[in-house]
Structure formats: C-alpha cells, structure tokens
C-alpha cells in the first residue's frame, strides 16, 4: 500500500543526517539539495539571510534622522546575517558557560584596507555595542560572516 506523508522542512532537516541514502534522495527531491547544505554554505548574500530568517527586507528607517538611516540599515543587515548563520539561536548573555563569538576587523585607514582580522569570543564580558544580536555561535560562523559580509559590517562600523 502506498501512502503520501507530509513532512515539514524542520523535521526534514532533523531526519536527513541519519537517514539511509534512498530516503535522503527522496528528501532532496522534495526540498532541493541546497536545502540540506550546512547553513554557512546556504547563506551567501543578504537576500539568502532574509529568506532563511523570513525577515522583511531592510526597512527605510525613515523614523530616525536622515544622517543615521544608513547606520541603522547596516545594523539591521548585520543582525539578520547573524540570525541566519546562527540558525535563529539567541544568546543568553548572562550565561557564563556560553561562548559568544564575534568577527574582529582590522581597519587600516581606508575602505580598501578593511577586512576580517580574526574571530574573538567572550563569556562574561562584553563591550559597548556588542549585543547578543551580533554574536555568533562559533568562530567558524563569525569568520564566515566577517569574510562574506565584509561590506555590511564595514558600513555598520563606520557610517
């Protein structure tokens, strides 16, 4: 007897890693191969991040004075990028056992020399501006964010 079953994307992601190849192929056929790639491989553009998080496109921020709008737009982009790469996980910043990773940039005095220097982490300390919304769950994701989204982070830091 043949029966069709409905399966949610969330459940498919849970089942996929430990499924036999035949079932993996069936899941890939239904959701697409890219759907099962690691999140850091699926997020290559801001549009990818917006899609994965289901966030609306960048607001105009016309509620704030004009000279601050680009700064807030850049901040929104970085928040969405972090949310996407973290798979939606929010941090408990009071949890001293939970590492929070951040990209660390070197600024050599010009836009062209700006770039990722490394990823750093904190447990119980945090500096002004580094909120839980801009932290990453591991150093790999922090580095990827700093490399792939260099322009967005530079805008947030400099505008």
């Amino acid at each position: 007897m043949k029966q069709n079953i409905e399966i949610s994307g969330e459940l498919a992601l849970q089942l996929y890693p430990n499924s036999p190849q035949e079932f993996k192929t069936a899941l890939e056929k239904k959701f697409g191969v890219e759907f099962f790639l690691p999140i850091e491989e699926r997020i290559n553009t801001l549009e990818d991040a917006l899609k994965v998080t289901d966030r609306p496109s960048v607001p105009e921020f016309d509620c704030v004075p004009e000279d601050l709008r680009e700064f807030f737009k850049a901040t929104y982009k970085c928040v969405v990028i972090a949310e996407a790469l973290n798979g939606g996980k929010r941090f408990d910043i009071y949890n001293a056992d939970e590492y929070r990773h951040y990209p660390y940039f070197i600024n050599n005095g010009s836009a062209s020399a700006f770039g990722l220097r490394a990823a750093t982490y904190d447990l119980t300390f945090s500096y002004a501006g580094s909120g839980s919304r801009l932290a990453f769950v591991d150093s790999k994701k922090a580095k990827i964010a700093g490399e792939k989204f260099n322009n967005e982070f530079r805008d947030m830091l400099s505008l």
């Binding site: 016309d62 700064f71 070197i106 500096y127 002004a128 909120g131 947030m156």
Partner: protein, 123 residues
C-alpha cells in the same frame, strides 16, 4: 573636575536628546521582536553623541584613539568592568557611533547610562 564638560551636563537620556536635538522615535517599521533592540541602539547613539559633544569619531583615522566601555555580564551585577581603546581594529558592533572620545567619557557613559547599554546587550 571632569575634563569633558559634557559629563556635568548630560546626566539622563532626556538630557542627551535635548543636547543633541535628536527627536524621540519609534521603530514600528521594524519587526516587533527587534524594536527594543533598535530603540536601545538609538538611545545609545544619542547618549554617545551628546557625551562626545557632537564629535563623531573618524573611523578611518588611525591616529585617533576611540574608547568604549566593557561590561561584566551578570543579571545581578551588570556594569562597567573597564574601558578599552583601539586605533586600527574593531569588533562587530563597536562602530564609530558608539565610541567615545576619551577614557573618562567611556567610563562615565557606562556608569551613568547602564540601562541603555544593558538594552543594547539584551534587546
């Protein structure tokens, strides 16, 4: 006697709005769960601007030290741990809008406006 005269004048968020002439805004145009974060961020920008006397640190100027407070993260003891400065490196979130012109100002900002900074961390 504080070197930065703004530290004597700016004691509340209201003072910062008055000094900068910035309007109060609401962030109803962003997703609801992000509004508190952006409101805190806006308040932090306005407080920093007021304490810096309107001077926005030049992010591309390697010769200009930029100071920011560091906090100890604890629900019962959230507060200033110290302040640090950088010339050529910067971490995500520590942009020029949130940097102070000197160490004294950074430490005052953290102590006087601890609720604003807590909002940025938690929002």
């Amino acid at each position: 006697m504080k070197k930065n005269p703004n530290l004597e004048k700016i004691k509340t968020v209201e003072d910062a709005f008055e000094a900068t002439g910035r309007p109060k805004v609401d962030f109803t145009n962003v997703p609801e769960d992000l509004r508190e974060y952006f409101e805190s961020q806006y308040n932090a920008v306005v407080v920093t601007e007021a304490l810096n006397g309107g001077k926005k640190p030049d992010w591309d100027n390697r010769n200009e030290l930029k100071w920011r407070p560091w906090f100890i993260m604890s629900a019962s003891a959230f507060g200033l741990r110290g302040s640090g400065c950088d010339v050529t490196v910067s971490t995500a979130g520590s942009g020029s809008r949130l940097q102070n012109i000197d160490e004294e100002t950074a430490e005052y900002s953290a102590r006087q406006f601890v609720d604003v900074w807590r909002g940025v961390q938690l929002g």
